[in-house]
């Protein structure tokens, strides 16, 4: 996939310390490539000269020894290359501690990161340690891919895990507004989950479960979704499968709906987790339906999804021989925050039906619509689904209830075949019986959800969103003003010169240097550079601190841009 290359692409601009660093990496890379070339040539020579030897047994031994040595050497070199490329993606974090008040501890750690993109206490991966990297030959090639992909996708998250901002204990820590996590209602959730009804143990909860999920939980989920999705008829618990998280649900769906190399359509920008899940286990391709920010006659709203665009993407994919098995929709959309109207939804589903596509619809933000003028329509609320046997709904508690650590995801599908096939994975994605009980109690407590939780949650979302949008407006930053989700999709194009993904990455790193994590458009496969997603579902104090850092970075960036333009002008 081309996006993966994009992550590793080196910036061309010689800026600050990064230019130097990139140059160094570049030289290093060239050297290693050369070494690799020589090794391969040597290997080839060995192979071709082989028949000249007389003693076959001896030759066989010598040959296999040489081969395994060279295999090891090659493996080592390749691994180093991957390492280098990744450290390139990580960039000069720490080389340029732009926060002057950084204490020594952070400086030291920054220095280590500069050496290796991985955790400083995992010396195995440090470039200098040849012997240690040697062990990578223990992994299968897909194992190496999995590790590498994970590292490149979750670097920011890991840094954050190690050095989290805390208002008292670690004010210099990272603030993570790149992760879409709802931290607004932890007080309410903690209190609710501490109530005595939650703590119930019985034999059944400790025994092998029904792998689709305990019947009591599936019944509750069916009732819950019937109510909150405004379903005309009662949903059937037999159509519910619960697994440990929505990623697991998607992963299993990809397994049972597609064979390797087959594809799903997905409108971009979209939540990067899908790309990750698609290639990690299931090896399914994603065909992007690129959306434009520009408003035109054909595109009345920024990033609007239309059936025409879907159709075009599908036909183009088919022309190249791709087998497209389905369409992925996220509603409310992540990262755009769009909520699809009933008519649009109907249109997309009709399109899918026309081409016999499955529709996987992720409604994980369905209760996180905080603008009272926006009505969310679950696909389950439709009077008659165009193609019920190919419509599969995903929901979970991670976002709407802010309990991402609970690991709970739901599949609702009318298609029993799909439900059964997904259930085969129950073993591998099972949820603890104890947790299933707690979830059941939580979903059951309609009174608390409707009268306490949801009103508070939504009003806090509204306030946080209001604060953030006001700040952005003050800075003159364009953004999509939507009333759902935990994040805002904003356009920082004016801070990029030239407007490229390389510059986007550099700006992203600049935020990191200032201990602020955002997520950049590239990770959502946005085709226009300069877009960022910023999460606002956090405490006011933290948001304030974050926006302070945000402002600082952008002023620095602006300064640099002016300098650069001056230099260019002088040169001309």
């Amino acid at each position: 996939m081309s996006h993966r290359l994009g992550m590793f692409r080196m910036p061309s601009a010689q800026m600050r310390g990064q230019g130097l660093r990139n140059q160094r990496i570049h030289t290093h890379l060239m050297e290693m490539m050369l070494h690799l070339k020589q090794t391969i040539e040597k290997n080839l020579m060995h192979l071709t000269t082989r028949h000249l030897q007389q003693d076959l047994v001896l030759e066989e031994q010598r040959h296999s020894q040489a081969a395994s040595e060279q295999e090891a050497l090659l493996g080592r070199l390749m691994y180093q290359l991957v390492n280098l490329l990744q450290s390139g993606a990580m960039g000069g974090l720490g080389l340029q501690p732009s926060c002057p008040s950084l204490d020594v501890r952070h400086d030291v750690r920054g220095g280590q990161w500069a050496q290796s993109p991985r955790q400083p206490d995992w010396p195995v991966h440090q470039l200098s340690d040849l012997e240690a990297t040697f062990v990578s030959q223990h992994l299968s090639s897909r194992g190496i891919d999995i590790s590498a992909l994970y590292h490149s996708s979750f670097q920011d998250y890991k840094i954050y895990q190690r050095d989290k901002y805390h208002e008292d204990k670690n004010t210099m820590g990272f603030i993570n507004l790149g992760l879409s996590e709802n931290k607004l209602c932890l007080d309410l959730m903690t209190e609710r989950l501490s109530q005595s009804d939650m703590n119930y143990i019985e034999d059944d909860l400790l025994q092998y479960p029904d792998w689709r999920g305990q019947p009591f939980l599936r019944e509750e989920v069916a009732r819950f979704l019937t109510y909150y999705c405004k379903v005309p008829d009662q949903l059937d618990p037999e159509n519910v499968v619960v697994l440990n998280g929505c990623s697991s649900v998607f992963s299993t769906l990809a397994m049972v709906l597609c064979d390797p190399g087959e594809a799903f359509l997905i409108p971009a920008p979209f939540y990067g987790g899908f790309a990750f899940s698609a290639c990690l286990y299931s090896k399914v391709e994603l065909i992007l339906v690129h959306l434009d920010s520009e408003v035109t006659d054909a595109n009345p709203h920024p990033f609007q999804l239309t059936v025409d665009k879907l159709e075009q993407a599908l036909l183009e994919a088919r022309l190249t021989g791709k087998k497209v098995r389905g369409l992925i929709l996220i509603n409310p959309q992540n990262p755009l925050g769009d909520v699809y109207s009933r008519d649009s939804l109907q249109g997309y589903l009709e399109f899918a039906k026309k081409y016999h596509l499955h529709v996987i619809i992720d409604e994980i933000y369905m209760l996180s619509v905080f603008d009272e003028f926006i009505t969310f329509h679950s696909v389950l609320s439709m009077e008659s689904l165009p193609d019920p046997n190919r419509t599969h709904v995903i929901w979970g508690t991670s976002k709407d209830f802010g309990i991402s650590g609970f690991r709970f995801g739901v599949l609702y599908t009318h298609n029993r075949e799909v439900a059964s096939a997904v259930s085969s994975f129950g073993y591998l994605h099972g949820i603890s019986g104890i947790a299933q009980h707690k979830l059941c109690r939580l979903l059951q407590d309609r009174e608390w959800i409707d009268k306490v939780y949801l009103p508070t949650y939504r009003s806090r979302l509204q306030i946080a969103h209001g604060y953030m949008t006001k700040k952005l407006e003050a800075l003159g930053i364009p953004f999509l003003n939507r009333g759902s989700g935990l994040y805002i999709w904003m356009n920082l194009k004016m801070y990029l010169d030239p407007c490229t993904f390389e510059e986007e990455l550099l700006l992203h790193r600049r935020f990191l240097d200032n201990k602020l994590i955002l997520s950049r458009g590239r990770t959502y496969m946005c085709k226009e550079p300069g877009w960022f997603r910023i999460t606002f579902a956090d405490k006011p104090l933290l948001l304030k601190q974050a926006m302070h850092r945000f402002y600082q970075v952008l002023s620095e960036q602006k300064q640099d841009l002016i300098m650069k333009q001056l230099e260019n002008a002088q040169r001309e």
């Binding site: 194992g143 590790s147 932890l186 959730m189 989950l193 998280g245 990750f276 073993y427 104890i434």
Partner: protein, 511 residues
């Protein structure tokens, strides 16, 4: 890619020698998979009788991918015995004539102790960090506790390190993740058979990895001093044969204490197996999920982690879970210990899909930390109860003159019912299994463990006395030909017509 490797076409389908490759051969999938391996287009086989996959898979397969149909077949066939059981579960009061489950390896002897412990106030802590996205390897506090726990109970020479620990939702996930990061699709692990059959599914579903059986014999000879003894020679032969057939073997799975044999490997044997693996650069996955369920002190259990100087520490990966030793199969907690950081990292990369709830992680840490309760209350009581139950069942079997294995570990006895088969075929084994089920007792038959000799059954004894007593009574009735429920001639007939080969039947799933 998930397509079946071309290698398989080379594999002989006749004459399964001592090390014939199990083409994703499973506890349930034998006929199906073998058939599939011959047909590159993944058409499901014509296959009738028990757990007929064509009935469901071909009905509307347009909705599922090819691999999806196979995956679904696992579910459908796994359901077979258990669907019958779940529809008619024994209950002392409500359904006294219901089915007694002596097939699932679960410890039901200590719920009282466990529920009391898990209900104590220290278990009930809820804090925000437990509700948020975790460290995918498992919360640090839990990994630290696991390291301490394993250091102590495995008697490791040096303290184990938390950074070598990865926590996920059960050993099934661990098998799946290890298969994925250690093997390419179509590569294989060696496994001594009979073995816990579900592993086939675990390594296959996502990983597309197959198991190569190292078949063990019940017969005692000059070389094999005990029945089903694993020797390095057998490992070597199985490996050679797999190589010969073009199957690339990447590792060896050992279960210690063994399931279903209840066997325990001596430190000397363990070291031999590990040396064998080292010679051939094989990874060794040691599943020690029954390590604290050794109720006979004389059995002398040794964890692989207790060995001084592992032959190949970078290729030795240890698995443990609370499912068996703490009788909590529903809790879904499993852990990997490996000194190989690359493997740990790669497995952790998959933990996004195999995570367990933060609150449960906290409870597990509390449980593992409570050494007083474990050592003074739980383990002595658990072992005493296991021993009593074992003694009872063993006594019953002796009275019936039935040979069996059971070496003081695990929840089961490996029972030799060969003399009750009119013919030594898996078809007869299946018929006997069905007679047990018809007489309302669920057992697991040897085929489900890939045992190569028909007529072996695994009998789980870790249940309450009254259920055990009733279960044994029903077993006896069947063996003495006094079943209360007459055989259903119709069901027998449909099986006969559908199964030309003795191996083509669907044995019950094994948990």
């Amino acid at each position: 890619m998930f397509t079946l490797p071309q290698k398989e076409s080379k594999a002989p389908t006749t004459c399964p020698g001592p090390a014939s490759t199990q083409d994703l051969d499973s506890n349930h999938g034998d006929g199906l998979e073998r058939e599939c391996s011959r047909k590159p287009d993944w058409k499901l086989p014509e296959f009738c009788g028990v757990g007929d996959p064509t009935a469901t898979a071909s009905s509307d397969s347009s909705h599922l991918s090819s691999r999806g149909s196979i995956i679904k077949w696992f579910w459908d066939s796994a359901e077979e015995g258990y669907r019958t059981y779940h529809m008619d579960e024994y209950d002392e009061d409500k359904n006294p004539s219901g089915i007694i489950n002596m097939g699932t390896s679960e410890n039901k002897l200590c719920f009282d102790l466990l529920s009391r412990r898990l209900s104590q106030s220290d278990m009930l802590r809820v804090e925000p960090s437990l509700l948020q996205y975790p460290d995918w390897r498992g919360h640090l506090f839990l990994r630290e506790e696991v390291a301490r726990f394993l250091s102590f109970y495995c008697k490791s020479p040096a303290p184990l390190k938390p950074e070598n620990v990865v926590v996920l939702n059960g050993c099934a996930s661990l098998f799946s993740a290890l298969a994925t990061v250690l093997c390419e699709v179509g590569e294989a692990f060696l496994i001594p058979a009979p073995y816990y059959g579900a592993i086939t599914q675990h390594v296959y579903l996502y990983g597309g990895v197959r198991l190569v059986c190292v078949y063990l014999d019940s017969e005692v000879t000059r070389l094999d001093t005990r029945p089903f003894q694993l020797t390095v020679e057998k490992l070597e032969m199985a490996l050679q044969r797999a190589n010969f057939e073009g199957v690339k073997v990447k590792g060896l799975i050992l279960i210690n204490p063994q399931n279903p044999l209840g066997d325990i490997y001596s430190p000397g044997e363990l070291r031999d197996y590990l040396e064998f693996a080292k010679r051939h650069k094989l990874h060794v996955m040691v599943d020690e999920v029954y390590m604290l369920s050794v109720f006979e002190k004389s059995a002398g259990y040794h964890s692989v982690l207790s060995l001084e100087g592992l032959p190949d520490p970078q290729r030795t990966h240890v698995m443990w879970a609370t499912s068996k030793d703490f009788g909590m199969s529903g809790l879904r907690f499993g852990t990997l210990y490996t000194e190989n950081r690359d493997v740990a990292t790669a497995v952790a990369s998959l933990c996004r899909y195999h995570g367990l709830s933060g609150l449960v992680q906290y409870q597990m840490a509390q449980l593992l930390r409570d050494r007083d309760w474990i050592n003074q209350v739980y383990l002595p009581e658990n072992h005493a109860r296991l021993k009593a139950a074992h003694t009872y069942v063993a006594g019953e079997l002796r009275a019936l003159g039935i040979p069996f294995l059971g070496r003081g570990a695990g929840f089961f006895i490996w029972v030799d019912l060969r003399k009750y088969l009119p013919e030594a075929t898996f078809k007869e084994e299946m018929l006997l299994w069905r007679r047990f089920l018809d007489n309302k007792v669920l057992l697991s038959c040897g085929k489900a463990f890939q045992c190569k000799e028909p007529g072996w059954f695994r009998l789980v004894f870790s249940d309450k006395a009254h259920r055990l007593c009733l279960g044994m009574q029903r077993v006896r009735q069947v063996l003495e030909g006094k079943s209360q429920v007459p055989d259903d001639p119709a069901s027998c007939q449909s099986q006969e017509s559908g199964n030309q080969r003795s191996g083509g039947e669907t044995p019950p799933a094994v948990l």
